[in-house]
Amino acid sequence: MSTRGFLGRRPSDEVAHRLPPGQYQTEDFPVLAKGPTPRVDRAAWRFTINDGSRPLASWTWAQFEALPQTIWRGDIHCVTKWSKLDTTWGGVTIDDLFQAAGITPPSAYLLAESHDDYDTNLPVADLLGGKAMIATRFAGKPLEAEHGGPARLLVPHLYFWKSAKWIKGLRFTSHDEAGFWEQRGYHMVGDPWREQRYTNDP
């Protein structure tokens, strides 16, 4: 049923087919976070991979910067309805990270953990095959604190709350453990093309 008098402002066909259902294009780069922006010092920064409570590998900023660097270009989609097209990110793919540490994933799920006590759950399969990276650059420049710098997870095929800002590590979990927003009404998977915004969405 249509809304009386609503005309709408349609995107071009080229943009429309890149927008998942319910999304609109923004030229801005909106910021969303549960609290104040943490100021994370690169000199003290560490990135750690844990299996439960057991550390598997850890990098300083300098060590992390020495890992193979990858550029990714594409579109990002926020559950608050905006999508931003043709973004460019630089960082280390999760494949390269695991390879550098000689890690074979010990389980099928993990939590991405942040400096502001935020976390979000992901299937490991969603991070491999070039689908995700630890991003340290946006549009060729060091990632700003507001957008998650020094480093954030980038999983662009899922809603952007999964791309945890101010990331400090990955923790393998024995099962799919709900993260911060996933405990508060948001979907466990969060595929924008299936419009998996909220807990009970199919």
Partner: protein, 249 residues
């Protein structure tokens, strides 16, 4: 850790617009009747509009009304080229039907049992979810202290201003301070300057309470500035909840 099913919204519902009320030159209140589950102060709803050819647009709007009151009040600011806000401002009228989904959000919320003292800081239309908290607090037997610091360009652009003045006149534990950035202040307790770090310090010192929870809502620029000041003034980051809109002022 488990999933809290109570914060999972159901699917889309029809909502009838019962009333539209101008609040300020740029903000209207839209009162809806819709069969939604009861909300918690601070939550929002998703709104969906459908054109005659099936094209749809969705946006999120914070709920301004207190839990337990009849109907749902949204406050809609007119945005430049706003696809959905211009519909509410220029087209919508009572009796129209839209679709809503919600209530949504399990973090930027306050319940009576959360207690206080509560520090609320709003910039512009960021007042909306904080208004729901202020109203909820004032309806419950308010035993705890609240400070609302509300920044707007002018006195006329303070949404819900008269109601906030009324709550303040009625409730000795409710402090309301307006910070006006592009016009004169109207009361001695208000300020005609930006809410910078020194003003944050001055206001907190004068209030004299240590907040249990802090809620900051407004543009990202506003929220960044205010939360940086709060953290520098030794308010623990872990008690500060933020909700931000837009990339710019």
């Amino acid at each position: 850790m488990t999933v809290d099913a109570s914060v999972a919204p159901a699917r889309w519902h029809q909502a009838v617009i019962e009333r539209i009320l101008p609040r300020t030159p740029h903000v209207i209140s839209v009162f809806l009747r819709a069969p939604l589950e009861p909300h918690v102060a601070g939550q929002h709803v998703d709104v969906r509009l459908t054109a005659s050819d099936g094209y749809q647009a969705q946006r999120s709007y914070s709920i301004a009304s207190a839990p337990g009151t009849e109907g749902i009040e949204l406050a809609v600011e007119r945005l430049e080229n706003g696809e959905v806000s211009s519909f509410f401002h220029d087209v919508a009228r009572p009796g129209d039907t839209i679709e809503v989904r919600g209530p949504i959000g399990g973090y930027f919320v306050w319940r009576v049992e959360d207690g206080g003292p509560i520090l609320l800081i709003a910039g512009g239309s960021g007042i909306v979810p904080l208004m729901a908290i202020a109203r909820d607090w004032s309806i419950a037997e308010p035993k705890t202290s609240v400070l609302l610091v509300y920044s707007a360009r002018t006195w006329e652009e303070l949404v819900f201003r008269d109601e906030l003045l009324n709550i303040q006149a009625r409730e000795p534990r409710f402090a309301f301070i307006a910070t006006i950035t592009r016009g004169p202040r109207h009361r001695p307790e208000d300020f005609d300057r930006r809410l910078d770090r020194s003003l944050v310090r001055q206001i907190l010192t004068h209030w004299g309470h240590s907040p249990r929870d802090v809620y900051v809502c407004g543009s990202n620029t506003f929220v960044e500035a205010v939360t940086s000041s709060l953290v520098q003034e030794a308010v623990p980051a872990a008690i500060i909840r933020t909700e931000r809109f837009g990339g710019k002022d």
